[in-house]
Structure formats: structure tokens, C-alpha cells
């Protein structure tokens, strides 16, 4: 792909994404003061995953990348998921 065809992210989009990221940071700090037991961890991780997706899609312009990069990243995340789930499988049933 030639560089001329590459998508140009506008300042407006970048600004909106930054605003969304800052709001989500505020939400995650706010929620951490409310005791929801185990749900705190899930909410915190959920918000973190949303923020990471925003950074990946817009700042790292993954949204406009070729299939090679998109699928290889998904592959990496799958490997991470396999690693995490198998280790938890072990830890949860060890004792």
C-alpha cells in the first residue's frame, strides 16, 4: 500500500478520542471508591479494555490498517487469552 492511500486521522477525531479516554479514566477512579466486591475488578478491567481498544483503533490507527496487522494482533490476544485461561485453570483447581 502506498503512503498516499493511508488514512489520515483528523485532529478532531484525536481530540474526541482523548476526551473519551479522560472521561473513562474519571469513571474508573470514581467506581474504585464504591465497594462492589469482586465486581470492582471486572469493571476496572472492562474500562481498561475499552480504553485500550480506543488507543489501538484510533491512536495506533488499527481501524485503518491492513488485514495482516489486524489478524496478527487478534492472534496475539488469543495467545494471551490461552495463557491466562490455562494458568487460571491450573490455579483454581490445584488445591
Amino acid at each position: 500500500m502506498d503512503s498516499a492511500e493511508q488514512h489520515l486521522t483528523s485532529y478532531k477525531t484525536l481530540g474526541l478520542v482523548l476526551a473519551a479516554l479522560l472521561v473513562l479514566t474519571g469513571v474508573t477512579i470514581g467506581v474504585s471508591y464504591i465497594d462492589l466486591g469482586m465486581f470492582n475488578v471486572f469493571i476496572a478491567l472492562g474500562i481498561a479494555c475499552t480504553k485500550v481498544s480506543l488507543v489501538l483503533l484510533f491512536f495506533m490507527h488499527l481501524k485503518y490498517e491492513s488485514k495482516a496487522i489486524k489478524f496478527s494482533l487478534i492472534g496475539t490476544i488469543c495467545f494471551l487469552a490461552i495463557m491466562i485461561s490455562f494458568i487460571f485453570w491450573d490455579v483454581a483447581f490445584r488445591h
Partner: protein, 198 residues
Amino acid sequence: MARQPDQTGIRIGMWLFLYTEIILFGGLFVLYAVYFYDYSSDFAKGGKELNRIIGSLNTIILLVSSCTVAASITAIRQEAKKLCLLLLATSFLCGIVFLINKYFEWGHKFAHGIYPNSPTLTSGPHGQNIFFGLYYVITGLHGLHVIIGLTLLTLSFVRVYQDKITAQRFSLLENSGLYWHLVDLIWIFVFPLFYLIL
């Protein structure tokens, strides 16, 4: 005729490297998760000792710097060299402020006898020792990435200044940007896991 650089190839190479970084930090987060499962109350106590305000401030600083790096790429591609340099300098400054905050944060902990293998930690609860051990390893490794990222940003700044990075050839800036965003991505997980756990 000069050979056209393979922009996509260069980017794919950078992403492949970033995957190894994701797995590296992923492994550390798994370690954190397993010990959190075993020592959740000690981890919660340890998390309360970390300074939330500095943590939140550093999160905002990194998010802003990530945005300015992304904007610098838009600027150079629109041939706005001055704006690009200004945005890169802003990102660099944010990175430096991040490290200064980290310095004060670590220094404060050291002053309270909380550092790897300190008598306070080794004689205290086992979970607390593990929590701070992971804290120093993960934030330390992340800090090292911030330093490397800053070096890359400086290099990009100089190259833009010298007109070596242009609207047609900006792969170095783009890849430095990708690295800087990765540093941000990791911090997005570090922040709630260490600073915000109840």
C-alpha cells in the same frame, strides 16, 4: 530512481515487535493475577498505600502525550513541520513529567522502607512483599519503556527538524509513535491494577 520504501512492511515489522512486548507484560500481569487470587486482602492493603493522585495524574499525562504523538503524525503528513515539532516536544515533556512523578513516588516509598528486599517488607505479610515486588518490577520495566520511548521521540524530533522525516517518509515517526502508544496501553492496565484496587 530511488526505491520506494515499503511503508506497510515497516509497520508490520514494528507491530511484530509490539506483540512480543504484549506477551512480556501479559506474563507479568498473569503473575499479578495469580497472586491477587491468593493474597487479595494483602494486595488491597498494599494498593491503598500507593498515591492515587500521582497515579491518576500520570495516567492523564500519558493519555495526553499519546494523543499529541498521534497528532504529530497528522501534522507532518499535512506538511505542518512546526506544529509537528511542537506536538512532539509536548509529548516529550509529558514523558519527562511522568518520570519525575515516578521518581518522587518511588522516593517516598523508599523513605518509608518499602523497597525490594527491605526489612519492612521481608518481615511483613507475605502478600504485601509480593505486591510491592510486582509493583517495582512492573512499574520499573514500564519506566524503562518510557525512557526508550523518550529516546525514540527525541530521535524523531531531530529527524523532523532535519527534514529527514517528511510528509512522504514518516515511518520512523510512525513507529516511534506506535511504541509510545504501547507504553500508554501498558499503563492503562497498570493504573487500575495497582492504584485502584480496594
